[in-house]
Amino acid sequence: MVINITNFARSGLYDWMAQRVSAVVIAAYSLFLMGYLFFGATPDYAAWHALFSQTWMRIFSLLALISIAVHAWVGMWTITTDYLTTRLLGPKGTALRFGAQVVCGILNFVVFVWGVQVIWGF
């Protein structure tokens, strides 16, 4: 058992499941938006506004935003723990890894809050 405090859930199984479920949600949301743009109404402001005013679309968008945050965190955490290590970078590895994780976490949070503001402010 390897102890870790900065991954998503302290459990490899939880991270693994969260990454897969979030990937399915992101794929479904992307396919829906692409389908809407290609086959739906002309994407002018009125149509766009009508779409995003609906409760189900707001729920779907919020779910996609949460999924992006979760998916990006699990992915970036994995990358930082693969490449930004004391094994590869020497003693400064831990500071670099933790720093990169903090930056990723803050960026993730900013994107999430900004996304909520965009969806709800439409």
């Binding site: 390897v2 870790n4 302290r10 939880y14 499941m17 994995t78 723990t81 094994r87």
Partner: protein, 239 residues
Amino acid sequence: MFLGKTLKVSVYRYNPEKDQAPYLQDFTVEINGKDMMVLDVLNLIKEQDTSLAYRRSCREGVCGSDGMNMAGKNGLACITPISQAIRDNKLVIHPLPGLPVIRDLVVDMNQFYTQYEKVKPWLQNDQPAPAIERLQTPEQREKLDELYECILCACCSSGCPSFWWNPDKFLGPAALLQAYRFLSDSRDTHTAERLAALDDPFSLFRCRGIMNCTHVCPKGLNPARAIGHIRTMLFDRGV
């Protein structure tokens, strides 16, 4: 493939007692058109240069001593014909990647064995020992096929990028194949403890499904599938 009278071979050389850095040394070996094994070629080189170091023992793919990287792919030198390892009329031989080199093609396997030991690769059963033996049905025994045959040559783990980056935390495909071998053994009663020990973000889940392990296994085993089975067992219990 047409094999000529001679073969050009490049071999990774490194003697930490006198070399500043590793280098590739070229040899020309007389093969007389024979599709011999890579180990035979190394033995011929050894006659030219006795300082060349490599491990070998059974010379028939059973002991797992001569795992090395031939033309970019890990395998056992004794059962790899040169016709499969020659690229551009040349045979290039490196030690197993990702493991510290002791000298030339000899690598330090300690980290590999440490990870193997962590999965407790022995039968654990809390019930009183029966008078004769613990019996299995043919179906129960069949579940161990394609798991128990591993010879610990390290071709899979040393070919796995996740093992290169975290050899102390990720157990690697060889150890995980053995973890599954005991998880699927009907006589073992420590399934819950074994699974609990694997549910952290590194030991098992650092596998990203790259599949190099299955691609290179000289015994034709499938560690990636075993890892998938362990994930399914964890998932079954976790949801």
